[in-house]
Amino acid sequence: MGRTLAEKVWDDHVVRRAEGEPDLLYIDLHLLHEVTSPQAFDGLRKSGRKVRRLDLTIATEDHNTPTLDIDKPIADPVSRAQLETLRKNCAEFGVRLHPLGDVEQGVVHVVGPQLGLTQPGTTVVCGDSHTSTHGAFGALAFGIGTSQVEHVLATQTLPMARPKTMAITVEGELPEGVTAKDLILAIIARIGTGGGQGYVLEYRGPAIEKLSMEARMTICNMSIEAGARAGMIAPDETTFEYLKGRPHAPEGADWDAAVAYWRTLRTDDDAVFDAEVVIDATELSPFVTWGTNPGQGAPLSASVPDPASYEDASERLAAEKALEYMGLAAGQPLRSINVDTVFVGSCTNGRIEDLRAAAGILRGRKVADGVRMLVVPGSARVGLQAVSEGLDVVFKEAGAEWRHAGCSMCLGMNPDQLAPGERSASTSNRNFEGRQGKGGRTHLVSPQVAAATAVLGHLASPADLTDAPAPAGV
């Protein structure tokens, strides 16, 4: 019987398989950042262990880093101490680090792909749940806890139980104005925040094949929000084209050998998935969340649901609590929800294509009075690219704040936070209570919806903009 993409990559990394034990899996790439690594390095020190494969390990700073005044000492002493701890640990153990201010610094899941380190058929781990992003290349990539970070540092392996596989087949073509973010939000609303639990998801079908690498990363990034540790997309010409010439992509004969292998990384026709979901792309429209978990979403054209409409008692209670926290009433049209803040950025939507999309809508327009808009590139390189295309000028002329790279308001570990009761439209991945700041209220949206919302001051899609943008330079 044939095998799925996930099974092929898994099988190629089994170091040891024994009855009654989890498989011991080899890890090709280990990404580190400041938040989930200090206790792991401490563990190595206590047991007198070293980093086994420095050449498969790389670190950057992202969660705590400020997005303003990055040339000055970091104001928050606790954040500063954590970044200094990472610097000391990397120096002591010999790990390559891209610190704040370095041209390769940025959100760890943006940095790996842009350096060409994330490659098809590799296993990628990081102490961050959004490691699923790298699955867009046909890598088996998943988030791990700090104990596992220490385990990978020491052994370059992880004992793992073999996951089940789920196909998410997206038929048809995404309608004009519907993005990868809308698609993944709709998928999560369909299967639920626990629907992918225990599975590796494989996104496939005509709508997926047409997506750019950036869009594929947006999709795989949010697999974890459906409960799946990993999401994957089979590598194809789009993948190879993206990788060719990147700093760590193979060259010459190695490139040819790699591509020959990568071409084998497709689910066999006779392979059987443990579960299958089919989505009709043509039925989709811009999608936003109204609640406090990423599964609580609906088309922008819909209204806030009535908790009484849920049959399941636990879902009903969750919806009631969500509406209370979000300050929303059942039946309220989603388009009528006003926001205070718009955030464009994160490992979900902080890549160049996302910034281009938001800028394309803001060009010649203004952010609505009373709305604060933050644009945070996913990496320093993305920021430089945006500047070279003049996107920073577009954002600034529209009245948005153009910032330096980092995780920023996605989780508010740095000063970029919502105040209690403030409401955001955010291109990030989590609308949990307090995620963007204590008492903050988050609506997850695409970059296009974020930009249109910034202009109109309420949740909106670009189709709602009836004005003609001012000519360039005015």
Binding site: F432, E433, G439
Partner: protein, 197 residues
């Protein structure tokens, strides 16, 4: 890791689904670089409400958390497990746990027990009606017991063996050094490297 064999204690019924790790321990606590001192951050936002179940005097000293489905979703932060342990919890019961949280808990000796929602409902009813009711989580017998309730649970034999003996994963893996070295010798040259060595 501390070994887990069996534990008996009072319970905290937490009638919430989708308790994400941002609720268990908010991000600003993640700046700490130790594995301890997270107890005050546990459910920090909810604890501002004096009526929140954890704040009730009758729940002080409780050691078993009984939560709704999809406990531990979201961020991979192991700090969520440390916060629960630092506060004094020894076991968490739910009908469904998020994968990463579950893995983290079992690596730290916090036993996460999956039971049918019906049993969770029964445990809620029992411990809400009688806050002094004790719940036993017995890993040797793979059983949860409380007044009028006996429910067996599943846990794979390997995880159970590691928990019962408090074994360190890294030492176990390093026994397979020869296998790891052999695998490394066969890795293709085109695989990515972060450094030239």
């Amino acid at each position: 890791m501390e070994a887990f064999t069996t534990h008996t204690g009072r319970a905290v019924p937490l009638r919430r689904s989708n308790v994400d790790t941002d609720q268990i321990i908010p991000a600003h606590w993640l700046k700490k670089v130790t594995r301890d001192g997270f107890e005050d951050g546990l459910f920090e936002a909810w604890r501002k409400d004096p009526e929140f179940v954890l704040n009730r005097p009758e729940r002080q000293g409780a050691t078993v958390l009984v939560a709704g489905p999809d406990f531990g979703t979201g961020s991979s932060r192991e700090h969520a497990v440390w916060a629960l342990q630092n506060y004094g919890f020894k076991a968490v019961i739910s009908s469904r746990f998020a994968d990463i949280f579950r893995g983290n808990s079992l690596k730290n000796g916090l036993l996460t027990v999956v039971l049918d929602q019906k049993i969770v409902d029964a445990l809620w009813e029992l411990t809400e009606a009688d806050p002094t009711a004790e719940v036993t989580v017995d890993l040797q017998a793979r059983e949860v017991r409380a007044a009028g309730i006996t429910a067996s649970f599943e846990l794979d034999e390997n995880s159970r063996w590691r928990l019962l003996n408090g074994l360190d994963d890294i030492s176990i893996t390093l026994r397979n050094e020869a296998d790891i070295a052999a695998y490394e010798a066969g890795r293709p040259a085109y695989k990515p490297r972060t450094l030239q060595v």
